[in-house]
């Protein structure tokens, strides 16, 4: 039997909200035939010790990711534009905290 290739099962990404007020956070991935089974598997696999209150399941192939090779082009402007940060501006000490 092991010479027969096992067919691939779709891949899903799992997100957990650990408590109310916090965002869902990516925790990992898993394989399942459909979203119902994926949700059940995520519960078994990622929440065995009270890790969360809410689960999101997303098909992995639905995610569009930025290319690490484009890192410079994509994210460099956030570094060079220091004037986007409050510390760039001089406010006289007498004014106090602003």
């Amino acid at each position: 039997m092991s010479d027969v290739k096992t067919p691939n099962t779709p891949l899903w990404e799992v997100f957990i909200r650990s408590r109310n007020g916090l965002a869902h956070k990516h925790v990992g991935s898993l394989h399942a035939a459909d979203s119902t089974l994926a949700l059940q598997a995520a519960r078994d696999l990622y929440t065995r010790r009270g890790e969360g209150l809410s689960l999101w399941i997303v098909p992995s192939n639905a995610i569009t990711a930025s290319d690490p090779a484009d890192k410079g082009m994509m994210f460099e402007p956030t570094v060079s534009k220091a004037y986007r940060h409050p510390t760039f501006y001089d406010v006289p000490d007498e004014v106090g905290h602003m």
Binding site: S2, D3, T6, T9, L45, P68
Partner: protein
């Protein structure tokens, strides 16, 4: 450890010139700077291959590792022991799945890796090819096997490959329960009747040497270590980890009132952590039977055939479930399109 099959050298061709010394140098700089490498980042082919092999072997070990303990779930002496053993075995399934997911980020599918396990092409840790003969083996496995695994896995939480490191952080959080529940079993047996204590000693006698072997061949013989160390996949050598394990093991054994089955075990004064009596140095074990280790890795251990046969049977018996789930999912998707 869980990836002992790595000790054979990598025979792949040297990286293509087109890949450029530049990329490789940049990669090594990032590793040296303790930056984490992520799935879509450029990496040398050999790094990818080494990690795919290491992580998938580790995953296979977790999966096969469920079998020796699964053997005792229905025969646990109390409901408490049964519930904890079941939870532990379930954790090991989880570890296997986190690890397959981490390995998949390198490009091979879980199904391909799993088929390699079933066909016998892929390796898993030698330790799971030993039988679990008595209930005391559940204590010895949690205490010693999971204890050795923790020694190996804690440094892997800082592995240069991000997905592997993150999987290891989750695994390590869960492992400490495993070791503690095993030690608790040993304490209970050692405080029990003389027969129970003898059962604990017998389990220790059988697991001590195979656990020392878990860390893999001595440093001089391990061809893979240098490159893995440069790539910051490996942070400590096999012998260093084995030493840490032994130094922790001796006082724990003394507490139980048991004896390690090692006539040459001795304390050597020198550098090292202080023991509880304030002496500095290390415990030294007697010589390990590496021939036994090689035999077990080659497939000739006491339970190799049984373990793979059990996985094959489970895979075969689960085939209709996978087929039914896939057929149902396809039908639902079709209905959704039609609606």
């Amino acid at each position: 450890m869980y990836t002992q099959g790595l000790s054979n050298p990598d025979t792949a061709a040297p990286a293509k010139a087109a890949e450029g010394a530049g990329l490789a140098a940049r990669f090594q700089e990032r590793v040296d700077a303790e930056e984490r490498i992520e799935a879509n980042d450029w990496m040398p082919d050999a790094y990818r291959r080494t990690l795919t092999r290491q992580i998938s072997q580790h995953a296979h070990s977790e999966i096969i590792g469920m079998l020796p303990e699964g053997n005792w779930v229905t025969r646990a002496p109390t409901l408490r022991r049964k519930a904890t053993l079941l939870a532990k075995v379930q954790d090991e399934a989880g570890h296997g799945l986190y690890l397959y997911a981490a390995a998949e980020t390198l490009g091979r599918s879980r199904e391909e890796m799993f088929d390699d396990l079933l066909s016998g092409k892929a390796k898993y840790s030698s330790i799971f090819n030993y039988p679990t003969l008595t209930w005391a083996d559940m204590g010895a496995i949690g205490w010693l096997v999971d204890g050795a695994a923790i020694m190996n896995q804690i440094p892997l939480c800082r592995c240069s490959y991000g997905p592997y490191a993150r999987a290891m952080i989750r695994v390590c959080k869960e492992e400490s329960f495993h070791q503690r529940q095993g030690y608790e079993i040993m304490v209970a047996l050692c405080r029990g009747t003389p027969e129970q204590k003898a059962m604990a000693q017998d389990a220790l006698n059988r697991w001590y040497w195979p656990c020392l072997m878990m860390f893999g061949p001595p440093d001089g013989d391990s061809t893979h270590s240098d490159q893995s160390t440069r790539w910051k996949i490996k942070r400590f050598s096999n012998d260093e980890l084995r030493q840490k394990f032994l130094d922790a093991l001796v006082p724990q054994t003394e507490f139980l009132g048991l004896t390690l089955p090692d006539a040459d075990l001795r304390f050597e004064l020198g550098e090292g952590d202080a023991t509880k009596d304030g002496a500095r140095g290390h415990w030294r074990h007697g010589s390990i039977n590496w021939d036994e280790f090689r035999q077990v890795l080659a497939g000739n251990g006491p339970c190799n055939r049984e373990r793979i046969a059990a996985r094959r049977r489970a895979h075969k018996e689960g085939a209709w479930v996978r087929e039914a789930a896939a057929a149902y999912a396809a039908k639902q998707a079709k209905q959704k399109l039609a609606a």
